[in-house]
Subunit: 474 residues, 2 copies
């Protein structure tokens, strides 16, 4: 008998596992006697206590039978070499095969290395202590009140009502609470929609630039992706394929990541295209709250007479991303399918957070929070834009009416110089994301995405000065 | 122009929507003048304020242009009959087609009608005020501490460590925190596993009786299901198909819903079968905590030398179902696939609840809670079993070493009499689930599932007296 301790877990677990391997592997046959605990302890150079505990574990698991402690015998588990090690690699699904072929993610989200001092990368939330404090109180109250049994898979009814009210009040989207499905964020919304709509090899249109994890989700579902260029009015509908398409994934209120707001004309064109191509439209109303002007352009959903727009929103930007709550306003034709798909996916989102969110949205605190956030975002946006305007000989500034980031394009810098630029910026404390990884068709010149939610306005001023010096140095 | 108000939402929204339909439908052409607010208000019999607000909404959405308030004209949205109503039904995926063909759910979970006074249906959690109070404090503390940015999709590292520790301490499962994936409960675990392993039309073995939502999930993924009978030792491995099988879904520590604990011999047989059939095993360690005896039989995972067991646990039973947190101990060969599938599914589970759970599991409170719960469960189980034993001329009692429910079988009652029996029980306040809907092959006689977690021991005594009278009345 060979006992090799694998150094994982406590000593007694290692001893027990090693003995177990010998029993299951048939090297210790049924009825054979294990060494006494004292003998084995000496042989292994461990305390007797560890060996006793290991024997007790095996005994509790019925792999050995102990009589009086002195004599421990291997139980009959039905023949030698009971369970062999695997000889070959087990196969996985086509889904997993596609998963393995995905290009690596190039997103702030995927990075877990040390944080830069001034983090202007995309995806940082706008946070304030007051929000966390009210959220904390809402959660604590909801923990006592929320039902502890299985939640309604479609979502907590008062939350769905609060969202319907919010959408009509602030987004001009009129819908019924009963058409709203609560999901774990936009990513889950896309997964559910893809599952319900897409067979492998069917056509999907995605904007370019695009959100990488949405692209990954669609690719893994087996979609054939057509990337369609965006210009200053949004996706270029004239260049969209005329063949039958299953789904178009768009971000009209704030194109990700370019920041373009899709014009009304383009929206109407897109809906006409959808009717011709017999396509559904996934309207990701991502980052729609923090616009400089008045009420934004009408949502695709509110322009849609044919119930083919799937409107999706998230609380990741207005509250914080780790909340993982969002919603789908389901078109009638897909409502029951999406509800059932959500139930089969995870039986519904967590009840306490849903209840907390419902009271938060119903209270004045939510509107207050949005007002305060917008004010702060506008201040920071001005800091960023004013500072960037002084660099206009070197850079071009992208649209910046909304959201919590903008894009700048270098006028002279070449791609070959970009890495050195980013490293230099990093060395002075600036965390910056290049923009080209968000494109499927690489743009003609390099650019940066500048997020301004994760740092205070004071820090932002310093950061922008540092950025100016980096840009002027090239 | 025809204005029909659809009675959905506020009056101004109805007016705006009705006008919008006319504009988008091309009945109000570009440049044409809308009636004055006063004229329209009179025509519709509504207040002028509602019409003004409707015009303002349309103006903000750029569908009309107002000049000075008196003259509102339809904007040019690119041609008449811009967006037509849909003429035909859009198609959905094969997944959704299968979804639509699922048999209706017959589970307590699916019911939302009035609660019976004594609810002995399956799925009610064991609750106590102390648990909710500590959970509330943990949540509130975590809300201030947890990162608000996107969580690690695989799960919060301290929680994964706490679960690895718990599994080794209480379940005899030795694993690394890095192999643990946090998911939104067992249902999501199954969805992720199915996606990563199953192509349509591949073979999956499911125990009979079985958990309906697991069956639904597998059917919707397109699996070809072989239901295999269980007896008093667990799934009858001798009757499992010898052909190549992709996955076997089993509940060894407490067969759902029969309550049978799979014997060690059967576990070894099952692992041998998996090696022959080249199958993965989904070990749903559902409801494993509340056993009467000592440490339960070794888990399949701890007997598995070939890394083909996917061990899944949930906090739904030990804490409460609305928490929606569980975990997968991933076999090495599937770890990266499952991690990535979770990321693409929903970017990870909510951060605050994960952080709260981590501190709860690390603290003594969790073990205390388990100890108190076990004590309470044992008391109630005794109440139920002692009361049922007096009915043994009429019924047979199923296994009841673990879990929070048991099954009883009628000796004489026929299926044709069952409905009347259940209605009678309901009329005296008893909520009872029949057992046969959990079977794919209908059992020879009717039975009931008796859950004893959702009512106090005092109530349980009354409920069992009521049940005795109902049984004796037949």
């Amino acid at each position: 008998m060979q006992l090799i301790l694998d150094k994982q877990g406590t000593l007694y677990e290692q001893i027990a596992r090693s003995l177990k391997l010998n029993i299951l592997g048939g090297r210790l046959v049924a009825g054979s006697r294990l060494p006494s605990t004292r003998t084995l302890a000496i042989a292994l150079g461990v305390s007797r206590k560890s060996v006793i505990e290991a024997y007790e574990l095996l005994s509790a698991e019925q792999l050995v039978s102990a009589r009086g402690g002195s004599c421990t015998r291997v139980a009959d588990i039905g023949g030698a070499a009971a369970v062999s090690k695997r000889s070959r690699v087990l196969s996985v699904s086509r889904y997993a095969t596609r998963l393995r072929k995905l290009p690596p993610l190039q997103l702030a989200i995927a990075r877990l290395d040390t944080r830069p001092k001034y983090n202007l990368q995309y995806g940082e939330p706008l946070l304030n202590r007051a929000l966390l404090n009210s959220w904390r109180r809402k959660l604590a109250a909801a923990a006592l009140r929320a039902a502890s049994t299985y939640p309604d898979a479609a979502g907590f009814v008062p939350l769905r009502r609060a969202i319907a009210d919010y959408l009509s009040r602030r987004r001009g989207v009129i819908c019924h609470a009963s058409d709203i499905l609560i999901v774990g964020g936009t990513q889950q919304a896309l997964t559910l929609v893809a599952r319900v709509l897409l067979n492998e090899q069917e056509h999907v249109v995605v904007e370019d630039p695009h959100y990488q994890l949405a692209m990954h989700s669609l690719l893994t579902h087996g979609a054939r992706i057509t990337s369609v260029r965006t210009d200053s009015e949004g996706i270029v509908v004239a260049e969209m394929p005329s063949r039958a398409t299953r789904l178009a994934y768009v971000t009209p209120s704030h194109q990700f990541p370019s920041g373009v707001i899709m014009t009304l004309e383009r929206r109407i064109e897109l809906l006409k295209w959808a009717a011709r191509a017999d396509s559904w439209i996934f309207e990701d109303d991502y980052d729609s709250e923090f616009h400089s002007g008045d009420r934004p352009v009408a949502s695709l959903r509110s322009l849609d007479l044919s119930e083919r727009v799937i409107y999706v929103g998230s609380l990741s930007k207005t509250l914080f991303p780790s909340l993982r709550l969002g919603y789908i306003v389901c078109p009638k034709g897909l409502r029951d399918d999406l509800f059932k798909a959500k139930q089969l996916d995870d039986l519904g989102s967590p009840a306490i957070e849903q209840a907390a969110l419902a009271t938060f949205m119903q209270s004045r605190q939510f509107d207050n929070h949005l007002r305060i956030s917008l004010k702060e975002i506008l201040i920071r946006r001005r800091t960023v834009v004013e500072s960037l305007e002084r660099l206009e000989p070197h850079i071009e500034i992208g649209p910046h009416q909304g959201g919590m980031h903008l894009v700048i394009w270098f006028r002279q810098l070449r791609f070959s110089q970009l890495d050195r630029f980013l490293k230099h910026a990093r060395s002075v404390g600036l965390g910056l994301d290049p923009i080209h990884p968000y494109y499927r068709v690489k743009p003609s010149r390099p650019g940066l995405i500048i997020g301004y939610a994760g740092v205070s306005n004071a820090q932002l001023k310093t950061a922008m000065d540092l950025l100016a010096r980096c840009v002027e140095a090239i």
